[in-house]
Symmetry: C2
């Protein structure tokens, strides 16, 4: 905990040493790469079925999530875990709930080849992309190579995802000094958020995403989900049920909550977190105030034109949604 | 057949009496209604699963279609028929392959309540929409009524779909007098298209969409698909295997072809149409020319910002993708 947290002050400032920082617009973006990545992000031809794209489960109309407890994969398979928002995910210390991917580039390759998600292979995906003349030209323009590789595909997608930040939330306006940007009730919620200890894990520019923590510190979390968390990556028993702390940015849009998507509402999520992580029973009034604060974390959503995808050629392998 | 067709001339003009007309930009659009309709078009909460929206099968990144032989519905059910493009569908004499909906408004209600598609009910869809505060406000702004109805929902979606026209194709530029807009090869294809009789069904601004015709006039069409066509609507045996003639606008983008999606390429589609509808075996050279002409029918795709959907409230019924 930082000194500012210990002081329990609601006057969090946007300083390097502060608890919170504003979300900044994306910088150093390679536009050619990110525009190509945007197309790939929306392209269901990266899946076996031709039906599932990155945007299916990280829907940019819906807070970068699918608003389902766990996602729907190839052949309607039920996913094992809640789809985390792609918004501001560039700030995460690692990707996936268990942090098994170091960064966005590594993450992007996962779902394409996961039999329970897009159910394709990297080789087949490259075969599809290579066969689409306008993609072939665009990859050559962007990467300057004759051969298209999965590394280029994931690099482009990651570059697009780098642009998916949500600055200018009311909380950020407040951090920047506009004291009218938050209501007294919301500020009371922020004070509770800090004084109660929520901020111990939910801090930094994303209010989360920067540490792994145990789900169920004070009391065990009961779930029907089978995800074991960080121990699946480290093999260490001590990491069992440790998950990446989710960002609270845009949390109003990213219901349902927790790695198993079991909490339908923010009110429920705050209640469970208070009891299981902090040993606190928030009163109804306290709960309402914290929820009000959390809703100030909704930033400007990424606005861009729906990409038009280049058509397949006669040589493009066709999707096989109904075959084994 | 019109006089111009009989004359077999490639100098088709954009006149009232001509074979072809250009695609015009949408006019008389109620912007409030169409912006609301755009959100609804992209909103998977109109489906039981919370996963399937209008855009899932009529994907505006992909020529307004899903580029699958037949579509994927709730629980990965295989649809019975190819998803027709939504682009320029306002020009159709009726909607669906069998014309069972009179217009776009009537069409829009179909998939929502179809157990094999979005698998919801109109009542449940309205319940979801009513529970979303920003939707409730927007419906009130647009329609001026306190109560939201399915009629308003389908009217808004239809208004958005009215905007999904694709003017400015090279063919249209040529029709408007720019003789450089098409190559000699493409013009030769147009002449073949007219002289061979394709134009008997594929005429008007959409080059189709304005009549029902039998699939397999000269020789029977063999298909694994079970769709019986127009007779399902009229109950008349004479209408069996009559389907709405699909538009050829943007046909380069709307593969695979035919009501069963059995033709993977334009070349194959032209070949089958020649043999079965016209009793003609196009040579490879003729086929190539006609395909070249067809590719001049790709117009400007609708460009707009991906809509940001209003979040559900605590009271919004949650999707049930995995329950019966």
């Amino acid at each position: 905990m930082s000194a500012a947290l210990a002081a329990g002050s609601a006057s969090a400032q946007n300083t390097e040493g502060g608890l919170f920082q504003i979300v900044k617009p994306a910088a150093n973006v390679n536009l050619g790469k990110s525009e190509l990545g945007k197309k790939l992000y929306f392209d269901p031809r990266l899946s076996k079925s031709g039906f599932i794209s990155c945007n299916s489960c990280h829907n940019l109309s819906m807070g970068g999530s699918d608003n389902l407890p766990t996602s729907i994969g190839d052949k309607w398979q039920q996913g094992p875990i809640n789809s985390p928002t792609v918004l501001n995910s560039s700030m995460n210390l690692a990707q996936f709930w268990d942090g098994r991917a170091a960064d966005l580039k590594e993450q992007a390759g996962g779902p394409i080849a996961n039999p329970g998600e897009m159910a394709f292979t990297h080789t087949l995906a490259i075969g599809v992309i290579e066969s689409i003349p306008a993609y072939a030209r665009e990859f050559k323009t962007v990467f300057g190579k004759d051969k298209i590789t999965i590394d280029q595909v994931t690099e482009a997608i990651a570059e697009f995802e780098k642009t998916l930040v949500t600055p200018n939330s009311r909380f950020d306006q407040w951090l920047l000094g506009n004291k009218e940007a938050m209501t007294p009730k919301e500020l009371a919620g922020l004070k509770l958020f800090q004084d109660s200890g929520c901020v111990a894990c939910h801090n930094g520019p994303a209010l989360g995403g920067n540490s792994f923590q145990k789900m169920g510190v004070v009391a065990p979390y009961k779930t029907k989900g089978g995800a074991e968390g960080r121990s699946a990556v480290t093999g260490q028993e001590v990491d069992r049920f440790n998950f990446k702390v989710p960002t609270l940015r845009n949390v109003e849009l990213t219901y349902p909550y927790f790695h198993d998507g079991a909490a339908n509402t923010l009110s429920e999520a705050v209640d469970v977190m208070g009891r299981l992580q902090l040993g606190k029973n928030f009163t109804k009034d306290e709960n309402t105030k914290i929820v009000a604060f959390l809703k100030t974390l909704t930033g400007d959503q990424p606005l861009f034109r729906l990409p038009i995808l280049p058509p397949s050629s006669d040589k493009t392998p066709r999707p096989t949604p109904f075959s084994k």
